[in-house]
């Protein structure tokens, strides 16, 4: 009998512990797996030989020779691309990939203090852009794009697939980042075509963490972050500064160097920095506990997490609760099944207002009346005003400043106090979501298997909205309580036959199947009004139920899916797929669309003739594929979007003879020929590894042509409608993507790696039929224009070009409002015909970035690690409408307008909103993330009886450099006004700076 002994040790690679490395006793089935830190322990015979392997590293063989402690350092396999990548309906060795798929492994992404999973993708994948924040504060959807805007329907975001089930992109807001194992982004059409109908805008797949055979691992992670907003000096218009400007102007004009009564009066009242009021900062906290483990037959992964983000705005707040259970069981070698259930609950309070609407209030106005300010209140109009009441501008009118009986009027608006507008409203979304799936897999023989899954997702959204009496100058007459419920149920049933076989030099993997999906949405809302008091904010406090609505709708999708992957000698690779999708949203003869794709690859370095010490890995791949889109986003929305091909009548009512009579109203111009939008993409690329893996990367070129775009185009109101849904036009997106990873330095104690990503995108409208040259505007009060003109980027900014400002002497009362500027400006006579008309307008810029990039550096020294990412974008413009609000205040007939009697060349004046005055450079460079961590040593861990522990400090946006041309808070915030008028930078959350500390322990 040979003595058994316990051998323990640590497996390292690239200077860090390797989790999941396999230790096997040669010639037996005995083995174990390393833990998260690379440690292992195994009971073996003292003369055994251990085989240590890990994906991406060369396998090592170590004889035990009676040792009890064995530490092994694995070397990187030069063919380290041997990673497995999740593709649609299957997996593939990375070396065999022929499409453009980027994988992002969640190494430290869950240590970034973010409330949504999609925000973690910023700067992680070349060609994926994430515009950071939405308009109403924390938890709002960012704008996510893969390779620019291809399909230009309003739903131009990629498809989200979690553990193989396509779910609503809304799930990005509820996924637990701690539970994400990896993201896989399918960028080219050939890769996405397997998702056919919904792959047109790329696909992002999330794989959640699985149980690993071995010890049951408990992990607890937590972080707490502190966030704030940097003051924006462009919009900080203080009374003091205003007075200086006025004085300087008086001196320059040779006027009496005296401030106007109004300004002197403002100085008396106060000087409030409104940015400090609405950007109140906040804390973000996360706790996550997971338990994962299992045996050879059964693996499980469970987790529980909680996140609370207070946001940086006055009322925004986001809470998220996640639960997950996933079990996989092997009944036998042939049969396995698994189940995943993933419920989540979010409670989000919005910032129910617009930042620019608040900040345009004048700096003299306080939030509340205090002992000083109350003495200026007009007691005739406001007899009941008290200290502590919200201050409103009209309270301060009719003040006898000079003690001569004269009255100074000061109000520029009759609006209520801007802080009250936000604080006295409560707007919440409560979302309960479940995503689940059951699957079963049966191996018929070594080559064939069948699999099926039944799953889906459900979302129950409850929205409540309350407006109290002080939120509006019109008081309780405008108080209301609103309740909305929307339930979405999506089911998927699929079945596949799979064939996998390696013989000789051939390796074939094929799959074919059917998927059947249903979508059902049930919606209802109720509005109550007639609140005399603010005590009860729910519907039962209303005296009148003033509105109610509700509808149900259904949509179905039927898909036939097939794919063959083939490799010869690991050298010549090919993949062919075909998907046929039927969608219920199209007319009888247009329901089905065909989405084929083909891609080929050649691993040049596998050739015998190729012999280089420099180039260790070189693959050339070319792909071509067709994807589709059935996503309709009409202005009318809801019912129309799912039955768009038919002429629909909606129930209406009219009052005739004092009674309600039923009416049916046509809501759309029917289009029975409405059909699939299709994208064709060509993607040649090379993947390379140089100097034994020191440098690796890829370069992709892509050209995607999207045609028959499903668009709602504006039509003449003379038809009786304002929009019509059509298939129209063609958009081409092309560009180059570069991913470069370098191992700059590697010793036992120190390593330094750099990742460089860059993507260039050019967007051009190549066909727009009769609609080419169409001009649009989205806000009739501030009608800045867009043009969609063939030969130019889609939704180009359009308008006049500023020549010069109007000299202040021609402005009525130029200092009537703090920070106010003239509403009009002289514009250039571009065609030189001596007059300004529509022909003097020109294209002023594109809202889509030409270049996005990121550089990430990672350092490790002994137990310390540090990484930081710079990220930026260039060649992009935004229409910063905040300027129009901030400087121009309220469209009034007198103040801040030019004097029509004296102003010269009035024919050359245009409102600034119609000019390039507010088309600004949306570029930026940001220090997106910085993360410094310390992992406890083994000795220390033993003392505290932990397997692994890490503490870290991270920061986000500690540096954010926007263009000097841009005066707003956040050039990334774009209001969704549809694809034809993109780039409207209105309101929006500012960029939040965060400092976070966190701990993660395994026990």
């Amino acid at each position: 009998v040979i003595a058994q002994s316990t051998v323990s040790g640590k497996v390292t690679g690239e200077g860090e512990g390797l989790p999941g490395a396999t230790i096997r006793v040669q010639g037996t089935l005995v083995g174990t797996v390393t833990d998260i830190d690379g440690n292992f322990s195994i009971s073996v015979a003292s003369d055994a030989i251990l085989e240590i392997s890990s994906v991406g590293f060369t396998t090592q063989v170590v004889p035990v020779n009676g040792q009890t402690r064995i530490d092994i350092t694995l070397n990187i396999d030069v063919s380290q691309l041997e990673e497995v990548v999740v593709i649609g309906y299957g997996t593939q060795k990375k070396s065999h990939l022929t499409g453009a798929i980027s994988k992002v492994t969640n190494k430290k992404l869950d240590q970034i203090a973010l409330s949504r999973a999609d925000e973690a993708l910023i700067g992680q994948v070349a060609g994926v852009t994430v515009a950071q924040t939405g308009e109403d504060g924390v938890g709002s959807d960012p704008t996510l794009r893969v390779r620019g805007v291809g399909s230009i329907t309003a739903g131009a975001g990629p498809l989200l697939v979690i553990d193989g089930v396509a779910v609503s992109s809304d799930f990005f807001g509820s996924v637990d980042m701690n539970d994400v194992e990896s993201f896989e982004v399918l960028k080219d059409a050939a890769s996405a075509a397997i998702f056919g109908s919904r792959g047109g805008n790329g696909v992002i797949m999330i794989t959640t963490k699985q149980g690993v055979e071995g010890r049951t691992k408990f992990t607890y992670s937590t972080f707490t972050g502190f966030q704030d907003v940097k003051n924006n000096p462009d919009y900080n218009m203080s009374v003091a500064e205003h007075a200086n400007r006025e004085m300087a102007y008086n001196e320059a004009m040779g006027n009496t160097p005296l401030l106007s009564d109004r300004t002197r009066y403002k100085q008396l009242i106060g000087d409030q920095n409104w940015q400090d009021v609405i950007f109140d900062g906040g804390v973000i906290t996360s706790h996550s506990l997971s338990v994962r483990g299992g045996s050879a037959k059964t693996k499980f992964s469970t987790s529980l997490s909680y996140l609370h983000d207070e946001g940086v705005l006055l009322t925004d707040d986001f809470k998220k609760y996640n639960l997950k259970a996933k079990i996989d069981h092997k009944v036998s070698d042939k049969f396995s099944f698994g189940i995943t259930v993933n419920p989540s609950y979010t409670n989000r309070r919005r910032f129910d207002g617009s930042t620019h609407d608040i900040l345009r209030q004048e700096a003299w106005l306080p939030v509340y009346l205090d002992a000083n300010t109350i003495q200026y209140v007009d007691r005739v109009a406001y007899p009941d005003a008290q200290i502590g009441d919200y201050a409103v501008q009209t309270m301060f009118n009719n003040y006898d400043l000079n003690g001569d009986g004269g009255e100074v009027d000061i109000s520029g608006t009759s609006n209520t106090n801007p802080a009250a507008k936000v604080l006295e409203k409560e707007y919440r979304d409560f979302k309960f979501k479940v995503f689940g799936k059951f699957y079963a897999n049966y191996k018929i023989n070594d080559d064939f298997s069948v699999s099926t899954s039944i799953g889906g997702d459900m979302q129950d959204t409850e929205r409540t909205r309350w407006q109290g009496s002080e939120a509006d100058r019109r008081g309780s007459s405008r108080s209301f309580s609103y309740f909305q419920n929307s339930k979405d149920v999506h089911t998927v049933m699929d079945g596949f036959v799979n064939y996998d076989r390696d013989f000789g030099n051939h390796s074939i993997s094929a799959t074919a199947g059917v998927a059947r999906e249903t979508f059902r949405n049930e919606y209802s809302d109720v509005t109550g009004s007639g609140f005399e008091f603010d005590y009860i904010e729910t519907l039962n406090g209303a005296t009148v139920i003033s509105g109610a609505d509700g509808y149900n709708r259904e949509k179905t999708l039927l898909s036939f899916i097939s794919r063959v992957n083939y490799a010869f000698s690991d050298k010549y690779l090919a993949s062919v797929s075909l998907r046929r999708d039927g969608s219920s949203v199209f007319g009888d003869n247009k329901k089905y669309g065909m989405f084929p794709a083909v891609s080929i690859g050649w691993r040049v370095t596998e050739e015998d003739f190729f012999n280089s010490n420099i180039v260790n890995d070189l693959k050339i791949r070319v792909s071509y594929g067709v994807t589709g889109n059935d996503n309709i986003n009409s202005d009318y929305g809801n019912i129309l979007d799912w039955y768009a091909y038919s002429a629909l009548l909606e129930a209406e009512s009219a009052i005739t003879e004092g009674a309600v009579s039923a009416a049916f109203n046509p809501i759309n111009i029917a289009n029975p020929d409405l059909q699939w939008e299709r994208s064709f993409e060509f993607n040649p690329a090379i993947d390379f590894g140089l100097f034994e893996g020191r440098i690796s990367g890829s370069v992709d070129y892509y050209k995607r042509t999207s045609e028959k775009l499903l668009l709602e185009i504006p039509v003449s109101g003379v038809t009786g409608f304002n929009e019509a849904l059509v298939n129209i036009g063609e958009v081409v997106n092309k560009g180059i993507e570069i991913e470069l990873r370098t191992n700059n330095m590697r010793t036992n104690n120190f390593s330094w790696t750099t990742t460089f990503l860059a993507a260039n995108n050019n967007n051009e409208l190549t066909n727009f039929a009769d609609a080419s040259g169409q001009i649009l505007s989205v806000d009739s009060k501030r009608p800045g224009e867009w043009i969609n003109l063939v030969g130019n980027p889609i939704s180009s900014f359009y308008g006049f070009v500023v020549d010069k400002e109007i000299p202040l002497e021609y402005i009525n009362d130029p200092f009537s409002t703090v920070g106010g500027k003239a509403q009009h400006v002289y514009v250039k006579d571009l065609n030189g015909d001596g007059l300004i008309d529509g022909d003097d307008r020109t294209i002023l810029g594109s809202p889509y970035p030409k270049l996005t990039w990121s550089v990430t550096n990672e350092f490790r020294y002994k137990s310390f690690d540090m990484s930081f990412m710079f990220q930026g974008r260039h060649g992009v413009s935004v229409r910063n409408i905040a300027d129009e609000y901030m400087y121009n205040f309220f469209e009034s007939t007198s103040s801040q307008q030019f004097n029509p009697a004296t102003t010269p060349d009035q024919g050359f004046l245009k409102r600034k909103v119609l000019t390039n005055s507010i088309i600004q450079d949306g570029s930026y460079v940001a220090l997106r993330n910085i993360n410094i961590g310390y992992t406890l040593s083994n000795a220390a861990l033993e003392k505290v009886r932990l397997y692994n522990a890490r503490v870290f400090v991270s920061g986000q946006n500690l540096l954010y450099i926007k263009s000097s041309d841009y005066s707003g808070f956040n050039p990334e915030t774009i209001r969704d006004e549809g694809p034809l008028a993109y780039g409207y930078n209105r309101g929006g959350s500012p960029i939040a700076r965060k400092i976070t500390i966190g701990v993660s322990v395994d026990f």
């Binding site: 009004s529 009148v544 629909l648 009512s653 004092g658 504006p714 038809t719 649009l776």
Partner: protein
């Protein structure tokens, strides 16, 4: 082991059966779910009862959507901004916002209130065309439905042609590709020919059953107004006389009772747009917008000029029923329109469900048109019939002094104070040929920049842009 094999076989069948279920549920029906909460138009309008929903839908269009978004068609709800507020009758309380551009004659072609009215009224015309194109399914009510649809179409075109001048004139449902119709401005005389034809049919086909749907009297009165507008006094008179002699209409005894919300559709009303105060969707905007509770904190507020007219010419009764001081203490000294505020109380719990009907035609208007038709463009008249009609209106207002002759100015003044804020003044000034002088003087007085081109509104810039140059703008914009 045997047991296990059995289970395995069993499971195999489960997998295969789920698989086959997936495939078998692939019938064509699966991809054609029926709309649950709407109707498909292909099969609708198959009976008279169904067609009546399209008739009702026309009035729903005129009623418009009660929302504060100018993306929603507001129907007739904001017409006063384009008519009353462009005269010496009213303006904004604050001078703020887009509506102030109308009172100061500095309207831009991008004005959203103007664009909204344009698209609303073409939507009303579209709804009328849906009725006209499906008349085949009607039976006993065919003539009535035709009359109603043609009345509605004429009413819409009459307002469009007076506000915008030459406009596109579809006479059936048109789709977006029919640019020849959508972007061709038709001469006003052609439009008036259609209006006269339509109203003639309506007079022939309708009776006086309804007050908030089209009636014969409404068609007669509207057609009379069309003829007065065209200077065809001889055509107008025989239309007005039967309305007067029918004895189906009379003046309310008390002026203020015309507007009493519990007394709607009273004997004086010939045609009104119905609203109710129960549900937001069936109510209107203007009851709130004409108070400080509106978006622009007060529209249709009275300048001193109008207050003087009401007090000096209108007499106490009409003045008291027509306007009042804003009851909010901070707006003391501002005077608001009272006729369309529920019970005159702007602080009613929810002004967005005010519910007052909008009066389009009433008997007093018919009586004064009767005078106008007899006066026939002359400076004055002493005709007995004219005097009787004129005296009747004044007597009701408590102004019982006997009238012996009526001058055009007196008739215009009488119309101003009797029909104040009911969207007549602007059209009256044009019809009487004094718009340029009266509004010019008024603008000078207010410091506004008025020219004769301000009498027509701009074609909405949206339409000009969509037409890519096919539509010409009105001069001055």
């Amino acid at each position: 082991v045997n047991k296990k094999i059995k289970i395995m076989k069993y499971l195999k069948y489960i997998v295969l059966s789920v698989f086959s279920m997936t495939v078998s549920s692939c019938g064509e029906d699966f991809l054609s779910p029926k709309p649950i909460s709407s109707i498909t138009a292909d099969t609708f309008y198959s009976s008279e009862k169904e067609l009546e929903t399209a008739v009702i839908n026309m009035y729903d269009g005129i009623q418009g959507i009660n929302s504060t978004s100018n993306d929603d068609n507001h129907g007739v709800q904001e017409e006063y901004i384009l008519t009353e507020m462009r005269t010496d009758n009213s303006g904004t309380r604050s001078g703020e916002g887009e509506p102030a551009r109308l009172e100061s004659y500095s309207v831009e072609s991008t004005n959203s209130t103007v664009a909204n009215y344009y698209s609303s009224f073409y939507n009303i015309i579209f709804r009328a065309h849906v009725v006209l194109e499906n008349l085949g399914v009607a039976d006993s009510q065919r003539d009535r439905f035709e009359g109603e649809a043609k009345f509605v179409r004429a009413y819409a075109y009459f307002n469009l042609v007076r506000l915008f001048g030459e406009v596109p004139m579809p006479t059936s449902v048109v789709l977006q590709d029919n640019e020849g119709v959508l972007f061709t401005r038709i001469g006003t005389s052609t439009i008036y020919d259609l209006i006269v034809d339509d109203l003639t049919t309506a007079v022939a086909n309708l009776d006086n059953t309804y007050k908030t749907r089209a009636s014969q009297a409404a068609a007669q009165a509207l057609l009379a107004k069309v003829h007065l507008t065209l200077g065809e006094y001889n055509e107008a008179l025989p239309l007005l006389e039967p309305v007067i002699s029918s004895m189906e209409f009379d003046l309310e005894e008390n002026f203020e009772d015309i507007y009493e919300i519990s007394n709607e559709r009273n004997e004086e009303i010939i045609f009104a747009i119905g609203y109710d105060g129960v549900n937001q969707t069936d109510s209107q905007l203007f009851s709130a917008e004409m108070t400080a509770n509106g978006r622009t904190s007060g529209l249709n507020y009275l300048p001193q000029n109008m207050i003087s007219a009401l007090e000096n010419i209108g007499g106490a009764e009409r003045a008291a029923a027509s306007y009042q001081e804003d009851p909010k203490p901070q707006y003391a000294g501002f005077f608001q329109t009272k006729k369309f505020i529920p019970n005159g109380n702007p602080e009613a719990s929810d002004p967005t469900i005010g519910g007052n009907d909008w009066i389009v035609l009433r008997y007093a208007d018919v009586l004064l048109m009767h005078v106008e038709a007899i006066m026939a463009g002359n400076p004055s008249t002493s005709d007995g019939g004219a005097i009787a009609s004129f005296q009747k209106v004044r007597d009701r207002a408590g102004l019982t002094d006997l009238v012996t002759t009526i001058t055009a100015q007196e008739l215009l003044d009488e119309r101003r104070v009797e029909l104040a804020f009911e969207n007549h003044r602007f059209f009256d000034l044009i019809r009487f040929g004094v718009a340029e002088t009266v509004l010019g003087d008024w603008a000078d007085d207010q410091g506004y920049n008025f020219s004769v081109t301000d009498l027509l509104l701009p074609i909405p810039q949206r339409e000009i842009n969509l037409s890519k140059g096919q539509l010409d703008q009105n001069p001055g914009y």
